[in-house]
Amino acid sequence: MQDNLNYQEELMDIYKNPHNKGKLNKPSVSVSKQNPMCGDEIKLDLNIKNGIVEDAKFEGSACSVSVISSSILTDYLIGKKIEEVKKLTKEDLLKLINLNLTTSRVACATLILSALEEGLKNYTKEIVKNYEKRN
């Protein structure tokens, strides 16, 4: 079978047993994002300490592309500096997950990235707010 998106065995393994699935106890930041194309929703929890992502978890019902992408991205995030994570682009993520996606499926893969972007924005806002309160 020829397919634009190859449902390879190793990827299906990730889909069936994704890493970092679940939620964090007291996350520094938590964001839910919806894909307007299908109504899928993914929630991303991050624990950030001293400018480093200590832990990351995701949950939600979603398609294989979205789950694989979330699993790989959360693996990547853990242990990274926030400044580094902020620089992550859509292209970086697509390279990271290495799926041969058609245009319509790219949105499935990047749903978790938009959750990450919004999460980091909220986190920064929170830090600034707390800083202003203290001063």
């Binding site: 079978m1 397919d3 634009n4 449902y7 299908c38 899928d40 019902s61 398609c63 592309v65």
Partner: protein, 406 residues
């Protein structure tokens, strides 16, 4: 039914090394070469702007455009002067909501919709009622995906005297359900309530007679019935149309213009300001010729037969749940389903590998999906050129998807 496949050039395409199996007809249908040729013929030999020119080409273009209007009118059993060309169902429904709604609805009034409406028959009413202070209320479909007449009566009684219009689909684009428009019109009219019908999924698939339905507004699109994209129809009952104000202003729709004011010509041209989609209207007329040549009853019978076959085959697949009416006769050729633990997008992707085109998602009916806690469904929608072999290929693909992902 006679084999029509040879008339559709696109069906010869190969997708991912397989012959194309096109099962996304509820989104748009394919076009027979007769329709494609009619558009090419217009641009090659008759192209000119309509209604104003004295020269031969303009007269020819005007005649072709107005003949198309007559053809549409006779196809749905209406008068040509009641047929307004629009760019599609969405524009037609917006025009009813905005143009008729703003003038005729007031604070406290209620617009009744079904809970499975397409966004295009939902959002225009939400926006319009916001402006005038009216309210949108919903008819609840039952567990078989149907709107019962009791539900219609119940909602009218609950909103005693407040319901001014029921705007409802003739056939659901998600469930396939055929809605009893004629009976709903009878109930509504007894209470002085108007009925607006979204016919986008009905006109391509069954004989529709406006006179027999006795509705007040009827909207549909050309591209779902073998015609080109960008042409649609809004039919309005003559008594209502005569009182309706134009919603766009410009060339072609005036009687007399001074620097201070303008007077307007009669319907339907009054509602078609600017250069109309002449080639679209001609393409639509050609599509109607094609459909009439086969016969709408023949098309409907083919659809029911294919529905029976498809429903039976789908039922054999483990963990697959069909959404909407269980009976083949209660549907158009639309069948949506979910497979436990396999996402609709994944099914559509695997099917694409088999050359099978289906749709996955919420099909512009997000509230219905949310209400029933379904994130996305896979929808197949067949038409006159689809065969049992197409369905076999579909089933093979779904089985592969469940094997890979389930």
């Amino acid at each position: 039914m006679k084999d029509t496949r040879k008339d559709f050039p696109i069906l010869e395409r190969e997708i991912n090394g397989n012959n194309l199996v096109y099962l996304d007809n509820a989104a748009t249908s394919q076009k027979p070469k007769q329709v494609i040729d009619s558009i090419s013929e217009y641009y090659s030999n008759h192209n000119a702007n309509v209604h104003r020119g004295i020269h031969t080409l303009s007269e020819e273009a005007t005649k072709l455009y107005e003949d198309a209007r007559k053809k549409v009118a006779s196809f749905i059993g209406a008068l040509p002067e009641e047929v307004i060309f629009t760019k599609g169902t969405t524009e037609s429904l917006n025009r009813v909501a905005i143009s008729w709604g703003l003038k005729n609805l007031k604070k406290g009034d209620v617009v009744l919709l079904s809970d499975f409406e397409h966004h295009s028959n939902m959002i225009p009413w939400m926006e319009e009622t916001k402006v005038v202070g009216a309210k949108v209320s919903y008819l609840e479909s039952n567990e078989n995906g149907e709107i019962t007449l009791d539900e219609v009566k119940k909602k009218i009684n609950e909103n005693e005297g407040k319901v001014k219009i029921i705007s409802i689909t003739h056939a659901s684009n998600v469930l396939g359900t055929i809605v009893p428009i004629k009976e709903i019109c009878k109930i509504a009219h007894e209470k002085g309530i108007l009925v607006c019908v979204d016919g986008a999924q009905a006109v391509p698939h069954m004989k529709v007679s406006i006179k027999s339905l006795d509705c007040d507004f009827y909207a549909f699109s050309g591209h779902k019935m073998l015609g080109p994209m960008g042409i649609g129809v809004l039919w309005v009952r003559k008594e209502i149309l005569d009182k309706l104000e134009p919603y766009e202003f410009g060339g072609g729709m005036v009687d007399e213009v001074s620097y201070e004011k303008a007077t307007y010509t009669d319907a339907p041209v009054k509602f078609e300001a600017g250069t109309p989609n002449v080639s679209g209207a001609i393409g639509l007329a050609s599509a109607i010729d094609y459909l009439e040549n086969i016969g709408m009853d023949e098309i409907r019978n083919h659809e029911i037969e294919l529905n029976k076959y498809t429903l039976e085959k789908l039922k054999e697949i483990k963990n697959l749940e069909i959404i909407g009416p269980k009976e083949a006769e209660k549907r158009t050729g639309v069948i949506s389903f979910v497979v436990k633990n396999v996402h609709a997008h994944d099914i559509a992707s695997v099917l694409n590998g088999f050359g099978v085109a289906v749709r996955s998602g919420h099909h512009c009916a997000m509230p219905y999906h949310r209400k029933h806690k379904i994130s996305a469904t896979t929808r197949i929608s067949h038409y006159l050129y689809n065969t049992k072999e197409d369905i076999d290929k579909l089933i093979e693909g779904i089985n592969k998807a469940t094997e890979l992902l389930g």
